[in-house]
């Protein structure tokens, strides 16, 4: 009995799993059924109804299914449906502006030219695809725009920080040579902001951020030496940024563990070279005092010494700074040297 069979093999309603036994049963049953209700090789549905087979209940059920209703639509019904289809087809085809028309059913007319589908010209197809491409680009732009806004506030080590640096790289690629030194100085200033923020908010010292700032300043000086950009405008900013870096190094050195401290000393040396370079190559004339003061700061800062809070320089000249404003720079440097 089927029920016994099901019980023996653990097959119960709602508890049948696709396990090996079930597969074996399915295969064996399939062979049985192939004998009782063989697949038709020709047109289906017209094979003679099978008998109940050898009495097996599952085969008997299969035979009963096979002997079920085999209605066929009358010719009138078939024609009626075909008329509906042709009418609908013609309407769709006409709407798309193609050849053919309401009488497409009776006379389909010449086929649409190669390259057309449902009457759409090649240019219509291309235009349709371009609209999709444009939509995707708009979505990408909106996404990247919002991503750049969000990433602008990220700090080194954040998930979105790589996005920020990629955007900066893209800006460097797109900017003209004359504007590149100014952009690099701005990026160096941004690195110092991040370095300071990391110390204040997360008590983390990241010398690599200072290294990046120095690299940007160095590259800006090289471009200025090659005649790109406005030297009068950028020299004071570079000097001021270097000064601020020296101050940050001094403060970070008091917090950093030994392995980072050594890195800070190296960066301080590089920073001194940068200051020497901007004063030596540029328009400023305070070479001696700046280099000696910064050098002394970096090498004499004892670890663990309590230093005054960093005062972020506010004297960074704007691009349209006047010579009078630029003259504040040496004063700031001397102030540090005195401290």
């Amino acid at each position: 009995m089927v029920d016994d069979f099901l019980q023996d093999d653990g097959f119960r309603d709602g508890n049948i799993r696709d396990n090996g036994d079930c597969w074996d049963d399915g295969q064996a049953l399939a062979r049985q059924l192939d004998r009782a209700v063989p697949p038709a090789s020709g047109p289906t549905g017209d094979s003679p109804p099978p008998d109940a087979g050898d009495g097996d209940s599952l085969v008997a059920v299969a035979c009963r299914v096979a002997r079920g209703p085999h209605p066929a639509l009358t010719e009138v019904a078939l024609d009626r449906i075909e008329d509906q289809l042709r009418s609908r087809y013609a309407a769709l085809y006409a709407r798309s502006g193609a050849h053919s028309g309401a009488d497409a059913g009776a006379n389909p007319g010449p086929r649409a030219p190669v390259g057309r589908r449902w009457g759409r010209s090649r240019w219509q197809v291309i235009g349709h695809r371009l609209r999709h491409v444009a939509a995707v680009l708009v979505v990408l732009l909106l996404f990247s725009g919002s991503l750049s806004v969000v990433s602008a506030h990220s700090l080194p080590g954040d998930d979105l920080y790589p996005v920020k640096t990629i955007i900066e790289e893209l800006q460097l690629i797109l900017v003209s040579s004359d504007r590149e030194p100014g952009l690099r100085v701005r990026l160096a200033e941004r690195r110092l902001d991040e370095f300071e923020q990391l110390i204040r908010e997360r008590e983390t010292v990241r010398p690599d951020v200072l290294m990046e700032a120095s690299a940007q300043l160095n590259r800006a000086l090289t471009l200025l030496a090659a005649g790109h950009g406005n030297r009068t405008e950028l020299d004071p900013r570079i000097a001021n940024t270097s000064y601020r870096q020296a101050t940050l190094i001094q403060y970070a050195a008091s917090l950093a563990p030994p392995e980072i401290y050594d890195n800070l000393i190296l960066i301080a040396d590089w920073n001194n070279l940068l200051i020497g370079r901007v004063l030596g190559e540029g328009t400023l004339d305070y070479h001696g005092s700046v280099v000696s003061s910064v050098h002394r700061i970096s090498l004499s800062s004892p670890r663990g010494e309590t230093l005054p809070p960093i005062s972020t320089p506010t004297s960074t000249p704007e691009p349209d700074a006047t010579p009078d404003e630029q003259s504040r720079i040496p004063a700031l440097v001397l102030c540090v040297a005195a401290g």
């Binding site: 049953l29 059920v61 009963r64 299914v65 609908r88 769709l92 389909p108």
Partner: protein
Amino acid sequence: MTEPPDHVLIERAQNGDADAMAGLYRRHVAAITRYISYRISEQTVIEDLTAEVFLRMVEGLPGYRITGAPFEAWLYRIAAARVATYYRKRDRYVEEALSERIESRFTLPEADIVQAEEHDELRAALRQLSDEQQTILILRFVERKSHEDVAQLLDKSHRAVATAQHRALKRLARLLGTTKTSRHYIRGKKS
């Protein structure tokens, strides 16, 4: 002269050949009608749903992509969806449909009435199975497709189809009360 295969007719229909579209309809209408008639008894509904299936085919042809999958698989999917929609809507009008059916039986000869009732019983039992199980049984035993063809039409593995068929037949046997004898298929002996 051999009939062009489905994919040729599809391409022609997509390019504006109404006769190719009609050829697709004529080729598959009988199977789709049988499929629907195994799940719905009212003749007028069968005709309406058959028309709906092929109207959907006409509307969907421009976007149809020839991938190598059988064209009829798409038609069966449309038919299954139309049947499901019909039953969802019909639940609100069960009494009306039943009274129409009983009334129409008065005009049939007695033998036909018995057969019609058997068919109704079979449909009612089939309706207890899942859509997929119903489709497998209809394709295999009504359309007489091979297991491989059924698997291809449903985009399933041969193993999955054989297993589902086994389960469907067991459930149907119970629903129809056909549980006289059974074979133990694993060990090859009757229980």
